[in-house]
Amino acid sequence: MEDPSTLRARARASTVALAVVAAALAARATQLQVARRPSSATPAVHGLPARPTRGRIVDARGAVLADNVARWELDVSPARLRQRRGGVARLARVLGVTEGSLDALFEGRGQRVVRVRRHLDAAVVDAVRRDARELPGVWLTPVEMRRYPQGAITGAVVGGMRDVARDDAPGPYGYRLGDRIGLGGIERSWDLTLRGNSTLAPTHQGMTLVTHLDLRLQRAAWEALDGVRGAAVALDPRDGRVLAYLERPSPDPNAWEHGSPARVGGDRASIDVLWSGWVIAPVLVALARAHGVSLDARLHGRFYVSPHHPRCATRGGPRLGDVVADDCWMAAHALLTSAWMDVTASLRRVGFGRPTGIDLRDEPSGAVNPPFGYPNLYDYPTATGGLHATPLQVAVAYSAIINGGTVYQPRIVHEVRYPDGSLESRASPVVADRVDLPTGESQRTLDSLARWADARGTAPAYAALPPMGALAEEDAWFVAVAPVAAPRLVLVVHAPDPPRGAEAAALRIVRAWHRLSSEHP
């Protein structure tokens, strides 16, 4: 045990050690600032990027969704340029402007740096390089411009770039005025990783993001939604991978390189919408089953029955097991409320009324409002008006009821990789919740959906669908699950304009998915 005098002596000894370290640092500083020769000439052209190269974004098969192209900025220190006789005039000639205009630009700037040009073309860059010796205080800085080879097709999910705003800088992420930062989608949500992951590691190059997206499916969905205002989300129900995520119309982020739009405008795929109707029936039935309601349970009492669904009114009310196949979606809700089930809480369990946890920022939560549990079934259309959901939430809920009850957080980014391709981290499936579905309930739901689609028969296209997919439809919504035997795709299309646009688009997307799966399983 050290005595006090030992500890105090240790403190005094630290002063000596401190002096030694300080002397060593001072010696090194002296060597650097006195003995070392400064660079013989200041290069006019910086050979390396001034800031880290932003990481690329690729799809699951390596197709590029976002990368960079080199451009140059030209900065001038007027005081240094004027040290060379005729320097300003020479620069004016190189740039193709008048000397007077440069003088006006440099007026009163002293030694401050003036940005003269952005996004220089190659000819001007070559001219400046050629005259570098005659242009002191002029230098070119390579900067990157973001390029989106898929343009608007991936605009909603990838996002774009904008100039940093005064409110952003300086923030904890090292933003500075003049920087370009992500706007919307992956670009915004993963901005720090794409920039280099650390404000303390400026030399660190940006990370590459490998997503679960399948560009082929994304493109097929884009084409299927041609002429439609809407959105589509495709999930793998087995683990929550997001295979496609788009909306139409969508902005082309390539057009933002020269400006800063106020907002992306491309978030319809995750926007709140008023939603009700048949599409939710399979979910409600599955939740009732999880709540212990028997398939033979029937609704007793009065409830609204659409004249389009006469079978629902037979024999004193529909059986729960037949609700989906017989198109009796109103009954599903009635059964739940008559079973004293907390519909609101149950719907939250499968992802409604709360963010799904997707790895995109500012995800809307939607709402499961109390009116949804309103028991007066004569007023059912009003009662259902309380549910606000997003296509993503619908896809998550369907995934849960067909995979056995596991509610996965949807994930877009699969891997983060270093610029050299080595792996930095890989996302694993995240389970958000579990619903205790009875054994076989998932397959029964799929069979019911297939029977419904088979029985519908209003369009020739449906005839081919049951073997490969199960469908649910409600006005602007269309849900497809495929294949029935072992689902690997849950597709949700929301297309309110024109009416029934979702139906045709979903069919085309599912067919494209089947074709792609068979070509490249």
């Binding site: 006090p4 403190a11 401190l18 300080a22 500083a29 030694q111 940005r115 300086p170 990783t193």
Partner: protein, 382 residues
């Protein structure tokens, strides 16, 4: 003068003056950078002034508390910062790309790991410096090493912020060296840290951290990784003896306001400016160690020496990095680098040292007193 007002008797003018001078250097450096490159650094000097004011008030409060009695309340910095780091890991911090380091309180953005640096020092002083002799068991020492040093460092490393995690370990080890049970607590710390480090090896490091080390060892083979360091050395060299603003006005130096603040200052003010900053930093650390050597109390000794070690470590690592003597690591220069959390933490720590020193040098010494050991209240050494 009213008793409720803090007495300035015993205030160390050297420590106070050097601290104020370094804060002024930091603000002046940011002003210079903002003047030369407004697009990048504009407005930072004003923000740093705001943080200096906030830190100054907190430091004054710390001084007042330490001036009256041993500043045990500093231990709560550890608890609060530890809790805040847990909050960041629990998802309460904004997570971008898996990095969760900052908590936002309205307009203020705080980095809890910076406060944890002082927290580790305070916790070690409280746990080991305040422990009555009868309670000093092996198990208690082990628990203290884990709770005060290892666990905070591990949590910060998990944020992920390995650089600050390592600094916490070093600060913890330095603080333990001045605690009564250094003989067994430091080997414990080494054993706890070395075991996983040896087992996991380089897997503990991220790819970019390995890249920095490779670039430092072989700059020609990794020109991209060594570019920042090469810029820093060029900037220092361009400063010569008296300094020039020309290099900064026409070149880019990433981190000129944070990790490479000393380089930016040295380039603009030359060797004289560099030596001035190093000397001021040395004065600050020396006064902390001097306070420790005068302390008549284990807690004060441990706290003052811990603060001195904290500052000396950060200055040494930062300057060595800026001068190209060690690979680039994310350690700021105390009181000079831009960043509110680090500035406020340092001012609180120095307020405590100033207060302890004032109390020690003004304490009445009764005639016939045996010496400083008499102040070891209630727990005299055998």
């Amino acid at each position: 003068m009213s008793d409720s007002l803090p007495s300035l008797r015993g205030l160390d003018p050297w420590l106070l003056g050097a601290t104020a001078a370094l804060v002024a250097v930091g603000v002046a450096n940011l002003h210079t950078l903002g003047d030369l490159q407004p697009a990048r650094y504009g407005g930072l000097a004003v923000r740093q002034c705001v943080w200096a004011a906030i830190g100054g008030v907190a430091g004054l409060a710390s001084f007042v508390a330490a001036r009256r009695d041993r500043h045990r309340a500093l231990g709560w910095v550890h608890v609060a910062a530890f809790g805040a780091v847990l909050l960041t890991l629990a998802g309460f911090a904004e997570s971008v790309g898996g990095v969760r380091r900052w908590l936002r309180f309205g307009p203020l953005v705080v980095q809890p790991s910076e406060f944890l640096k002082l927290g580790v020092v305070a916790a070690v002083a409280r746990w080991f410096g305040d422990a009555p002799i009868g309670t000093r068991t092996l198990g208690r020492a082990l628990l203290g090493v884990v709770l005060c040093v290892v666990l905070p460092a591990a949590l910060v490393a998990a944020q992920p912020d390995l650089g600050t995690g390592v600094v916490l370990l070093l600060v913890g080890a330095a603080s333990l060296a001045f605690a009564p049970e250094a003989g067994r607590s430091i080997p414990m710390l080494v054993a706890i840290v070395a075991t996983p480090a040896l087992l996991l090896g380089r897997t503990l490091l991220h790819g970019y951290q390995l890249a920095r080390i490779r670039a430092f060892l072989d700059p020609d083979a990794h020109p991209g990784g060594a570019w920042q360091l090469s810029q820093a050395l060029d900037a220092m060299t361009a400063g010569r003896a008296l300094g020039t603003r020309a290099w900064l006005s026409s070149h880019l130096l990433p981190g000129a306001h944070t990790d490479f603040a000393l380089v930016a200052w040295g380039s603009a003010h030359g060797l004289l400016g560099t030596l001035l900053v190093l000397a001021l930093q040395a004065v600050v650390a020396q006064r902390a160690f001097d306070t420790a050597s005068r302390a008549g109390d284990r807690y004060d000794l441990c706290l003052a020496a811990g603060v001195g070690s904290l500052l000396a470590l950060q200055v040494t690592v930062n300057a060595a990095m800026a001068f190209g003597m060690v690979p680039v690591v994310g350690v700021p220069l105390p009181l000079v680098s831009y960043g509110g959390s680090n500035l406020a933490t340092t001012l609180i720590a120095l307020g405590a040292v100033l207060g302890a020193r004032a109390r020690i040098v003004t304490a009445p010494t009764p005639a016939g007193a045996p010496g400083p050991e008499r102040l070891y209240r209630g727990t005299p050494e055998a």
